[in-house]
């Protein structure tokens, strides 16, 4: 029984991490139909930003979440206005945007090599190894904080998309940008806003990840792949679906370890098997294809 509780807690906490990594990617794809390959690079940049603020100025990583997100937002807006904006949207711009954003990723990675070298870095705080008892299990304070930020981000995103004018405009643009132009919604501005938001969420995910694992300039590659799995499982463009998909992926990775004889190193493959199954059996994602919210 205690083992079951432990597995459930592990799944839920891991889901929090996966969800934070995937929100940004899902949002940008849902609205712009652009696969943001720079997502991995921004995750890495967010990790280094938090590390730098902590090492140089002693700022707690959770305090630096907001400033890092703000800078990343403007970086995202600039990236959209300067680069992505120039590409054809949707299927027509698929390959170009893929190559362009992959290039941005490589630039970010090499800048990190230049500034911080290729050595692994770790963000250590006074509570890095602190734990609290939860249902008889010791749970890392850090992991719980990451989960808390994930839930909060989900709630804020949901409210933003469903209760505010900007959010409604984002959803409308995601559905039909041409009609939005006709009714006076500034489509380009919504696009740059969404790209900025997605980038900010990716940077936050990177910073949160940095509180848990060592990282180097290659950080973000594996995270990007996991994000893809979550976004596709949840249904492209579904924010709530992203959260639930993150939970499913985490459970699919954690629960089999309870099966005697199950080789633990295969857990990484479970997510990708799930991805293939969903694409073949339910290509719209587990929760169907919704348009945000």
């Amino acid at each position: 029984m205690q083992r079951a509780v432990e597995l459930i807690i592990n799944s839920v906490l891991l889901a929090g991490l996966y969800a934070t990594m995937a929100y940004g990617l899902g949002l940008i794809y849902g609205v712009l139909r652009v696969v943001n390959l720079a997502h991995g690079g921004v995750i890495m940049a967010g990790a280094y930003a938090g590390y730098w603020l902590h090492v140089e100025f002693g700022i707690d990583p959770y305090v630096s979440l907001l400033p890092v997100a703000a800078v990343a937002f403007f970086f995202g807006v600039l990236m959209y206005r300067g680069l992505v904006h120039r590409l054809p949207r949707g299927a027509a711009g698929g390959v170009q945007s893929l190559l362009l954003l992959f290039g941005v990723w490589l630039i970010l990675r090499n800048v990190a090599y230049l500034l911080f070298t290729g050595n692994d870095q770790t963000l250590r705080t006074s509570y890095s190894t602190r734990a609290v008892a939860l249902a008889g299990e010791l749970v890392s304070v850090n992991r719980m904080a990451v989960f808390g930020v994930a839930v909060l981000s989900l709630a804020v995103l949901h409210v933003l998309l469903t209760r505010t004018y900007v959010g409604k405009a984002i959803r409308a643009v995601a559905q039909n940008p041409d009609s939005c132009t006709l009714v006076g919604i500034p489509v380009e501005r919504i696009y740059s806003l969404t790209f900025g938001l997605g980038t900010a969420l990716a940077a936050m995910a990177g910073l949160l990840g940095a509180t848990l694992f060592p990282f180097n300039p290659s950080f973000g590659s594996g995270e990007l792949l996991k994000s893809f799995v979550v976004v596709v499982l949840g249904g492209l463009g579904s924010v709530a679906g992203t959260g639930i998909a993150a939970l499913i992926l985490a459970a699919a990775e954690v629960l089999p370890t309870a099966v005697p004889g199950f080789p633990t190193y295969l857990t990484a493959a479970v997510g990708f098997v799930l991805l293939v199954l969903v694409l073949v059996l339910r290509p719209g994602g587990l929760f169907g294809q919704r348009v945000l919210g």
Binding site: L106, R124, S128, A131, P214, S218, T264, Y265, L279
Partner: protein
């Protein structure tokens, strides 16, 4: 329709991820750029080598270069090495193999057939040595390396390849031998249960083999958990849950530095504590202490190929440490520089013993070599039964509360007594 495109994108992404890893290995300078050109002449012994000076292994490659540089400088200080009664300078032609297997092999070929070097020193990392040693064997040129540990390199029946890195099975064996002594002293239970975690690589598999074979042989250990994990893992909580459920006496893992840091952080957070904890070769690194805090790495046991503390008991190690500190502004060497230095020195000794630059004569001297050395155990030899791979013991170290990491085994190299069971268990 868009999902079909997404499948294509995912495939492209996987390819991109691969290519991005290769991009990391792109040379900062032109591959093969000679660090020190040398044409063979009558008074010069020309030795060729490649090292990963750029790319993924550049940090370690740089350390090996320091070892090579020191060895060549020392050899040339007194007019060179003695070859058949004549003093000859040794010249190193060092090329950058950019951490790439194919480059390492092609540059070895260039060194032999274009630069006409007399002998070869090896590069670093098992996969590069594996590729390069084939070229050396084909060209029948003595090839001494301090960077390839996998036993697979030495199981091919090669005559011209000599290795100074002892196999990883011995790493596990060294830790297990120390555990035997702790069992004999009644510090840990007999029989003891082991929770064994190993990375799913040849390194991890060799470690597992070492532990399980020792357990089978001595019958004083039971492996309660035997699980592998992927390199650069992010979440070990499920795995550590299994370890917790098994309630084993000893926790033995084999991990690279980032995985050691991540796993030990989750281990401490989960409230785990074993009578003995080890992460194989990892334990006392400054980076890990910084990342985890001194308290959280206390009493961790590790085993490495060489440690500067050996200088306290081994005169060859002391000589090397003194020379290294003098050349590199008081910096304390790590095992990489020591192995680099000793690799070059082994070749110099063989050339001197052969008294000529004849490849076969030098090969025979290497095969029969038995000289005092800085390696643990104090003797350098390349036993034929192990395919000419050194079988020197590892030094077992333990992190102490004062921040030091003394050698606790083998007995002839030990600078302190090991502590078991972990006094912190029950306190944390």
């Amino acid at each position: 329709m868009q999902y079909k495109r997404l499948i294509l994108i995912l495939a492209a992404l996987a390819a991109c991820k691969q290519s991005s890893q290769q991009t990391e290995q792109k040379p900062a300078s032109e591959p093969g750029a000679a660090q020190q050109a040398a044409a063979p002449s009558g008074d010069v012994v020309s030795i060729g080598a490649t090292l990963p000076l750029t790319g993924a292994e550049s940090r370690t490659g740089g350390f090996y270069k320091e070892g090579y540089d020191l060895a060549f400088e020392e050899a040339n200080k007194n007019g060179g090495i003695d070859v058949g009664g004549k003093k000859m300078q040794v010249k190193l032609t060092l090329l950058d193999d950019t951490s790439a297997q194919a480059t390492a092999a092609s540059l070895a070929d260039r060194l032999i057939n274009s630069d006409k070097v007399n002998f070869l020193l090896g590069t670093y990392a098992t996969n590069l040595v594996e590729a390069q040693s084939v070229v050396a064997e084909q060209n029948q040129i003595p090839y001494v390396n301090g960077g390839g540990a996998a036993t697979a390199i030495y199981k091919r029946g090669y005559k011209w390849v000599f290795g100074l890195l002892a196999p990883v099975e011995l790493l596990a064996e060294s830790i297990m031998n120390w555990l035997d002594s702790e069992q004999a002293a009644g510090h840990i239970p007999k029989p003891a249960t082991i929770a064994l975690l190993w990375e799913n690589t040849s390194h991890g598999k060799d470690f597992r083999k070492g532990v399980t074979e020792h357990a089978d042989k001595t019958k004083t250990y039971t492996v309660a958990v035997d699980e592998s994990f992927e390199l650069s893992g992010k979440d070990f909580s499920a795995l550590l849950g299994k370890v917790k459920a098994a309630d084993a006496d000893l926790f033995l893992a084999d991990a690279h530095l980032p995985d050691y840091i991540t796993m030990q952080r989750q281990y401490v957070t989960a409230g785990l504590c074993h009578k003995v904890t080890s992460y194989g070769a990892r334990g006392s690194e400054k980076q890990a202490v910084d990342a985890l805090g001194k308290k959280n790495v206390e009493y961790i046991v590790s085993a490495v190929w060489w440690a500067p503390q050996l200088a306290e008991k081994n005169p060859e190690a002391k000589k090397f440490v003194d020379l290294f500190k003098a050349k590199y502004n008081g910096r304390v060497p790590e095992w990489y520089q020591a192995l680099g230095y000793e690799t070059a020195r082994a070749l110099f000794v063989a050339i001197s013993q052969a008294g000529s630059l004849d490849r076969e004569a030098v090969r025979q001297k290497l095969a029969a070599m038995k000289v005092p050395s800085l390696v643990p155990g104090g003797t350098l030899e390349f036993p034929a039964q192990f395919g000419q791979q050194i079988h020197a013991p590892f030094v077992v170290m333990q992190n102490m509360p004062d921040g030091s990491a003394p050698i606790i085994a083998p007995a002839d190299s030990a600078t302190a007594k090991g502590i078991a069971p972990d006094p912190n268990c029950g306190k944390k």
